[in-house]
């Protein structure tokens, strides 16, 4: 899958303005990426995008997995600094816990690109706009609901209060849906832990208490599909239900969309593109370029029809359609940031 992607990457590269400038300059020898959770599909695709871009540019990419252990993330940064990597890319396990890493990296003179979550004292962050992603999906969901759903909009949010990013998504979704359906009510605001089994369990209990909802929003696909599975396990009818997923990190959403069931909207965030952009930002940092504090990676709300424009899906694997993805425009600024919470 990655090899075929390479050819597409070359075409894609020229469309990114920033890349054009970095290509002309020096590239770092080694880049170290500290991923917070490499066993998650989202990050596997981020790494995939990063690896391919690195290979493209002739950069050696090293990856250390913090495996959700914040202390291990600090250790990984130390290890990279001991190995004299030229640039570090970090997806913080926790925003506050990464502050000393940045201080130490600065002292050691190693530039850092953050991915995903902002940290106090950072230089630059490559991330999607979480609030905007949720908001846009909310607007689409509101439109869909107007046409297809009976009764007032009642939402079950399978959320993750753990991270500000996921809180922004949920808030954005509710704000967005209310632009179309001002009476939309948040019936259940759940902590689904971001993983499918917990999401399923929490949703099942919530649905047993009150199953009078017609929209399930999940802050990632695991949460959305966990909520949907709980709905199914409760034996509820699927004809007056809209499920909105977020992320598009793996195959699960494509699989579900292929069935043309209640999952009608997916706020896709294109992890491959995030990895790609992060690598380019690392190169720019290495060259001492002046980067914006927030480099936005684009997102887009997919429907079962448009999903296949962005991803080729054969039931077993998916391939990103770079041409289509690179047509997307990302805003310079997000509507809301974590600091606005």
């Amino acid at each position: 899958m990655h090899k075929s992607m390479k050819t597409l990457l070359i075409a894609a590269a020229s469309t990114v303005a920033m890349v054009a400038t970095t290509m002309a300059q020096e590239t770092p020898k080694t880049v170290g990426y500290i991923v917070n959770y490499a066993t998650h599909e989202w990050y596997q695709n981020v790494i995939g995008g990063m690896q391919d871009r690195a290979a493209e540019l002739g950069i050696e990419l090293e990856v250390i997995d913090a495996n959700l252990d914040i202390a291990k993330q600090v250790s990984a940064a130390e290890d990279f600094m001991a190995r004299n990597v030229d640039v570090m890319i970090i997806t913080p396990v926790n925003e506050e816990g990464a502050v000393p890493i940045l201080r130490r990296a600065k002292a050691a003179g190693v530039p850092v690109v953050l991915e995903g979550n902002p940290v106090v004292g950072m230089d630059t962050l490559v991330a999607i706009c979480d609030y905007d992603t949720g908001y846009n999906a909310g607007v689409e969901a509101g439109k869909w609901a107007k046409e297809n759903l009976e009764g007032p909009v009642r939402v079950m949010n399978v959320g993750l209060p753990l991270l500000s990013a996921t809180v922004l998504r949920s808030n954005g979704f509710m704000d967005g849906i209310r632009t179309e359906m001002p009476d939309a009510e948040l019936v259940h605001d759940l902590d689904g832990g971001g993983n499918p089994d917990r999401a399923q369990e929490v949703s099942a209990a919530a649905l047993a208490a009150d199953s009078d909802i017609n929209v399930i929003y999940g802050i990632n696909d695991s949460s959305a599909l966990g909520g949907l599975q709980a709905w199914r396990a409760a034996g509820l009818p699927e004809d007056n239900l809209l499920v909105v997923g977020t992320g598009g990190e793996g195959l699960a959403f494509l699989n579900e969309m292929a069935k043309d069931g209640p999952l009608q909207l997916e706020a896709a965030m294109f992890p491959e593109k995030v990895g790609f952009t992060s690598m380019d930002a690392a190169v720019a940092m290495f060259n001492g370029e002046d980067l914006p504090e927030h480099i936005v990676s684009p997102t887009h709300t997919l429907t079962p029809e448009t999903a296949l424009e962005f991803y080729d899906f054969d039931g077993e694997s998916r391939q990103i359609n770079w041409e289509r993805v690179n047509e997307l425009e990302a805003p310079d600024q997000c509507m809301k940031y974590a600091s606005d919470l």
Partner: protein, 330 residues
Amino acid sequence: MSVTSDQSPTRQARGLSLGGLLRNEQIFLIILLAVLIVGLSLAAPRFMTAENATAILHQSAMVLIVAVGMTMLLITAEVDISVGASLAFASCVVMDVINTTSSLTLGILAGLAFGGGVGLFNGLVVTRLKVNSLIATIATMMILQGGVFLYTREAVQNHHQIEAFSLIATGYVGPVPVPVIIAALLAVVFYVMLNYTLIGRRVFAVGSNPKAARLSGLSPETIKLVAFVVTGILVGVAATILASLLNAGQPTAGRGFELIVIAAVLLGGTSLFGGKGTIAGTILGVLILKIIDNGIIILRWNQDLQIIVPGVVIILAMFLDQLRKGRTDG
């Protein structure tokens, strides 16, 4: 107080005194359960509905399936911490094998075989290499948590779309969810096995006094090994349900599952030191923990309480157990 005489068919000489009632752990748990149900019904009108009762049973099913095996294992004075990690791995195996073979039967068998295989490995490490089962199964847990990602980098999706597969978790027989029926059947089987059969009696004997059991011609190692394998197979059963429930094999699932299972079994009055335990107690333990879980969500309390309350309940239950023991021992 005596091993399983609460269920003994030949129960005779026990007076129904107040002290006797207090000493009977099941009664205590039933009272606790009743208090919970009444309290929650009063506090949240939506608690006492058929839908919610069904949901609670549904949630309890997977825990109970593994908990009955864990009860048997704890009675032999061993423990298995790896069940959560094994659950996740086995659910991936189930889905993968069905995807590959398009056979529901083969997939389920593969799940059971995988769970049983993990149980066999644990059992052999404990009985042959003489590694303390707590340590051995913590290590197995690590190996499985790592191993599952060597097996699959991502969730194993449902590519087979076999209709019957999704019914395992989400189907109903009348008003009763299928997993609840599976769990109930297994609970009955294990109840009968532990109380009325040769193997059940041997399980208790090995846990009560392994040396006496050996001198009586039994092989404690073999019986413990069987208990590990049986627990593992039950993990396979639960994994099949989990894969169906999530419509995918999830390598990240099952975190903390082992602690909930063990907590429920201990709450049910099974001893950590072997020789003592009942399926009825385990059922009550699972229900109590799951009702607490459910109640917290229904009452819209902070979900963080879901990890605090079980902790308090277990310590409290053990404390009351200690008080009762103190009284009988004089």
